[in-house]
């Protein structure tokens, strides 16, 4: 926890949102020099070489999966390693058959239907906790009320409660409320499980916004609503984006919550549930899994690439005072 907050205070100023990537445009004299100095201090050729090596080793299994997804012959997949497909004499074995099977669907429904379920499940499950957590974080950061520290610790303590413990009681409540077997159970469950971390992260970013900024706004006659929307929210964009990525990836890749609360019906089940079923009841068609995995990976990868500049900035944010 302190590890996340530490960089904000320890003065790596050159990489804060004010300068990172936009240092040249800041127009402040010395900004570029400081960034360069920080860069010198933080980089070393050895570290870079090791990072590249780890990155390569890390990517090998994924690359193998990618190669496998294009291998047409089931027998080859079963009997030889994926690297043998890279031998130019075997290039004729590549085909799009598995992707075709996965997308057109030989089973109950094809992957495309489940894609929509996943999107419908994920978007509110990301927006709801961010919305609630922003309000809660604002209250914790800028409103002085009795017991706010204890309450904050209490909320963060909820983070350690394992999901599995909450499942049966939560499901019982959903049944009593008549929400069972609707998207609401998925949205609410993911929102609940995501809220403690969301409040904690957003609060830490929000706390670092200079008090003078808020006080100046108040002197000018702004109320809480105006301060929240006009001052805080624009400054929070990188933090919101980085939490959104976390929550999006967690919800998109979730199987446990979806199966336990929503059930595995074509109306509700996300793409991960279909992926788990794709191999068939007895696992005979596991060769389809590599292609299915890459199809389901498209959206999270796109989201990550689209938001990654916020991601890096968001992790280092909080250094606005620099």
């Amino acid at each position: 926890m302190s590890g996340l907050a530490a960089p904000a205070e320890s003065g790596i100023r050159g990489t804060g949102p004010g300068n990172g990537g936009r240092g040249a445009r800041s127009g402040r004299p010395g900004g570029g020099d400081r960034a360069a100095a920080a860069k010198r201090r933080l980089t070393s050729p050895w570290a870079s070489a090791i990072a590249v090596a780890i990155g390569l080793v890390w990517s090998v299994p994924t690359f193998g999966l990618l190669v496998t997804s294009f291998r047409g012959s089931v027998k080859d997949i079963r009997t030889t390693g994926w690297w043998e497909a890279l031998n130019p004499s075997n290039w004729g074995g590549f085909s799009l058959d598995h992707y075709r099977t996965v997308l057109s669907g030989s089973g109950t429904a094809n992957l495309a239907d489940y894609f929509i379920n996943s999107i419908v499940m994920t978007l509110p499950a990301v927006i709801i906790p961010i919305f609630l957590a922003l309000l809660a974080a604002y209250a914790f950061a800028w409103l002085d009320f009795k017991g706010s520290n204890i309450l904050f610790v209490g909320i963060f303590a909820l983070q350690v409660v394992p999901i599995q413990v909450a499942m049966v009681p939560l499901l019982t409540q959903y049944v009593n409320l008549g929400l069972n077997a609707s998207f609401w159970v998925l949205w609410l469950s993911h929102a609940m499980f995501g809220l403690p971390l969301a409040i904690f992260l957003l609060h830490n970013f929000m706390k670092d916004i200079p008090r003078s900024l808020v006080e100046a706004a108040r002197v000018d006659g702004a109320g809480h609503v105006t301060i929240f929307f006009r001052i805080i929210l624009p400054l929070m964009v990188p933090a919101i984006a980085s939490f959104a990525i976390f929550q999006f990836l967690w919800v998109w890749n979730d199987l446990l919550v979806a199966l336990a609360f929503g059930g595995n019906t074509p109306d509700l089940a996300p793409i991960t549930a279909r992926l788990a079923d794709m191999a068939g009841s007895l696992g005979a068609k596991w060769h389809l899994l590599s292609a299915g995995a890459f199809v389901s990976m498209i959206v999270p990868v796109a989201v990550f690439l689209g938001l990654q500049r916020y991601f890096v900035r968001g992790l280092l944010a909080g250094s606005v005072k620099g």
Binding site: K75, G154, I155, A157, V168, N176, T265, D277, S281
Partner: protein, 458 residues
Amino acid sequence: MKRSIGSSAIAIGLGLALAVSMAACGNNDKDKDNTGASKGGGDTKADCAAYEQYGDLSGKSISVYTTFVDVEGASYEESFKPFEECTGAEIKYEGSKSLTADVLGRIEAGAVADIVAFPQPGLLQQAVATGKVLEAPGAVATNVDQYWTASWRDYGSVDGKLYAAPLGASVKSLVWYSPDAFAQAGYSVPETWDDLLALTSQIVEDGVAKPWCAGIADGDATGWVATDWVEDMVLRSAGPEVYDQWVSHVIPFNDAKIVGSLTEMSKILRDDKNVNAGIGDIKSIAATSWTDAGTPILDGQCFLHRQASFYGGNFADEGASVAEGGDVWAFYLPSNDPSRKPILGGGDFVAAFADRPEVVAFQTFLSSPEWANAKAKVTEGGWTTANNGLEKGNLKSPVDQLAFGLLSDPSAEFRFDGSDLMPASVGSDAFWKQMTAYFAEGKSEQAVADAIEAAWPK
């Protein structure tokens, strides 16, 4: 902390109030869509005479929860169509491979489907222990008595009361082989266990390939294939009576008869001359996926592979024809006593959690020959039942017909897969792990049996 719980409860309460009102609207829309779809979907008009007993169930819906997904699940949904068309009821089907893990939680939360197909009698017993499972209605009991043998009724009963009618079944006592390879080498299908051992040594002598291939790996369930082997051996070398005592722990797991059965199995699986054809040595049995273990038969690298009737689907996926004169076929794993014909198998049992008239009607339908025949007609392969009201010719796949023939043979003595009947700490834990160690680490038969006995809950 107290304050935190209080305020979050209010927040959740407000959220839920909003949620309930919106969910209510959402559900209405969905119902309309679904009834529209099911009415439009019926293109073949079924003969509804047999369904008149269930009455008019228009507008009623029944939810079903099974372990069958993908193609298998689709064939179940398809088999419910005649019922839907003739009675007007709507079946909401849900299949999930995680049923065994989450069904008890759903029962506890009150979120369980009207009808659940339990894949193991042990799980059914646990469910019955919650007190939520309803006893089978009279019409179901009548069907079970009429169309199933007594041992099937026992597996669906707890403390003498029938809770669940059997649904599908599989036969595990099969040995797969290639009829072509047998014909070329001049081998014939063995009639007794001794014949099978003699055939094994004959193949070793001829030296074209090792006789047996085997594999027991299956992710976190690694070892179950080996437990099936052991169960088949206990049935054959010790007999079905000893098998029942062994499964219910009247005799200990390390009883001399059980160790003797393990030793009998080792004549095939723990001899480097016999295994593991086309794959590796004895240790490779533990590391080879069961889905891949039989395929060397198709390449002529292996002659024999013991696996259940549903394995025919794996051969079919490889493009092989599974039939008596085809690329690959199976024979009954024989015993030395010609007067007895023990069959090891598995199956599902349908229990109900509601007693609305439409649920009772559907439960009765599932235990009837009408459903068994409807299911057979829409299934490409990998399904059979012990319901003797099934017309054999309706099964499309020859190996399913073979399995059904064995199940409906009056002289056959059916026994359910023992590891599914034993307590979970043995049947899906110690038994699996010790059998894996038996192959991977070369543990002795006695040591394996002692270790499993030690794991039995006191």
